[in-house]
Symmetry: C2
Subunit: 355 residues, 2 copies
């Protein structure tokens, strides 16, 4: 053979069989999932296997039936802190059930996402699409092949989990109204985002019910940079209260506003969405609609596992709403008594930071 000893392949089921003096299939059974065979032989086989360092090969195991013990979550952007806790929740639930969770980054690009999907789909038993940017039909195609759960997006025929945006937005708007604000601005996230649509709609409904003026600017990328741009538009109008599509946008907007000489929350109150890492130690600490991040992840995996067990044709369960919760921190304050302030841009020295 070629490689003399570097290629000492892992022991296989056959090696174990030989060492134990049984048939390969017996070894296989000693390691198979259900009933967890418990005869003396099985016990002995496992001991021997352990001694000679046998590890079952997941690739080979998966070939005959598709049982790979792998689950995947495709996130729009690993770099976005929104996903951290989701991943953690999913990971934990998955590993407790004996599954490995693969985290795949779509790099905020539809093409990359589709490619990632194609690459991972055949490997895994189930799939979580966290904030997918793909079309409904693309998702449906994937869901036909493997149990799928969609996150932060409603689909009629694919199980989905999402934050209760409507009620979350509602409480945000009420909070602002309670502080005396009468004219609210929504800073929109990416157009392709389903959640953005939901939030904007809920925003309009809530403001109209409470008879507040509603405005919308955007779309902006859901990033700090996006928020910085938004701040410019915000500064041009006399906005006193804004709700941003998400925390990143909100934090970016706050920073931008500050640079432009506006004070938060004195001049303008800002509310974010999601309660991501960092939202509590930015300045001022961000008032935000907290998404049940960890639960979202855990729930998605549980749903997947349930589908796997029952081999349910997926479509059965409708969207599941997990409650959001307004976290009041320092970025919101009562509206100033002053009516028209013209001096805004000049009071205090605009903080100049290098970009």
């Amino acid at each position: 053979m070629d490689a003399p000893e570097d290629a000492r392949p892992n022991p296989t089921i056959y090696d174990v069989a030989k060492a134990a003096g049984v048939a390969p299939s017996t070894v296989s059974r000693a390691f198979s999932r259900p009933g967890r065979v418990n005869s003396e032989t099985a016990e002995r086989i496992r001991r021997i296997a352990n001694e000679i360092g046998y590890r079952t090969n997941p690739l080979a195991r998966g070939l005959p039936n598709g049982r790979t013990a792998l689950l995947a979550v495709i996130v729009a952007d690993v770099t976005n802190p929104f996903f951290f806790e989701i991943i953690r929740g999913a990971e934990k639930t998955a590993s407790e059930a004996g599954y490995t969770l693969l985290v795949v980054d779509a790099q905020e690009s539809v093409d990359a996402e589709r490619e990632a999907l194609e690459r991972t789909l055949p490997l895994v038993e189930g799939l979580i699409l966290a904030t997918s940017r793909m079309s409904d039909s693309s998702i449906r195609v994937a869901a036909k092949q493997r149990p799928t759960v969609v996150m932060n997006r409603v689909m009629t025929d694919v199980p989905s989990v999402l934050t209760d945006n409507a009620r979350g937005m509602r409480s945000a708007v009420e909070h602002l109204a309670g502080l005396g604000h009468t004219s609210l601005t929504y800073v929109a996230g990416p157009e392709a985002s389903w959640a953005d649509g939901m939030r904007w709609r809920a925003f309009r409904e809530a403001t109209s019910e409470l008879e507040l003026k509603a405005r919308r600017i955007g779309p902006y990328p859901p990033t700090l940079a996006g928020g910085l741009s938004a701040a410019q538009a915000l500064a041009k109008h006399s906005t006193t209260a804004v709700v941003a599509y998400n925390d990143l946008l909100a934090i970016g907007a706050i920073r931008g506003l500050k640079r432009l000489g506006r004070s938060v929350p004195a001049d303008v109150s800002v509310i974010g969405f999601d309660n991501i890492f960092g939202s509590d130690f930015c300045t001022p600490p961000l008032t935000t609609v907290a998404a049940p991040l960890r639960h979202l992840g855990a729930f998605a995996v549980q749903n997947l596992l349930a589908q796997l067990r029952s081999s349910t044709p997926a479509g059965s369960s409708g969207p599941t709403l997990l409650p959001a919760k307004l976290v009041e921190r320092g970025s919101t304050a009562p509206r100033r008594a002053t009516k028209k302030r013209r001096a805004t841009a000049t009071d205090g020295n605009p903080v100049r930071q290098p970009a």
Copy 2:
């Protein structure tokens, strides 16, 4: 609906072969990596395959030869922003090379890490251990099985990439010394952390060369909570300058210090390590030793790919140091003229926030 026809298995190489009137192996060749076969037949086969929706099954493909086009990075804690950019860098490089990167969370636990390793190792062609908590020997065992790159840790016989901690620490200490601080405290991270050892050592060397007093407290978990605890210890002594094991710890310490009535940077200057997401918008913005996060990830993957191509026995390349860079922001300031301040704990009302 039940699924009478749900079990329409994906078309296989045989289906394509039949449709194209060729042998299966010919189909296989039409899809194989190297020469990217270009005969007319190959072209035709690919067209037909595409029509009937054939997708090559990575599981089956991997079985004979282990070529799964999968790479894995095992991170100590997906929840830690330190890894975001590393993952992004790795992901990008990997996907450009046609590989899929699996991100696996070790949940900051050695056991979980070992398990994750065992699960993923057989699946992938190469492995990146980002800030592993496992023993050198465990890592060596893994590296025997698959090309491996270790991050943020030096190993003689396994390729590794890491930030140039020594020079980074050096610049941090010099910065502090330049501001007039004479007594520095190092807030230590987890004991098992190799990087922590490095940083502490570099800290001692730099301080002694510059004839500064050096103290060390800890270990603390490298989290915000850890920093909060550290603040208590910090407040007990009259420290004016601290370098923390990482940004999370630093940010936590700053928050804790504030709650205890100390002002940063007026009373105490704080420097972190890594320049993670959030370190620029916390209050005050954190002065920190920026790690070349994205490069670390990209480099690790490149190294892996190189190993795969050349089937180098890994051990050849020594550790690679990527330069760190001190980012001066708002958490450091000149040492106060005042010599002994006894009033510290009582001036101003200690901000009391619910934990």
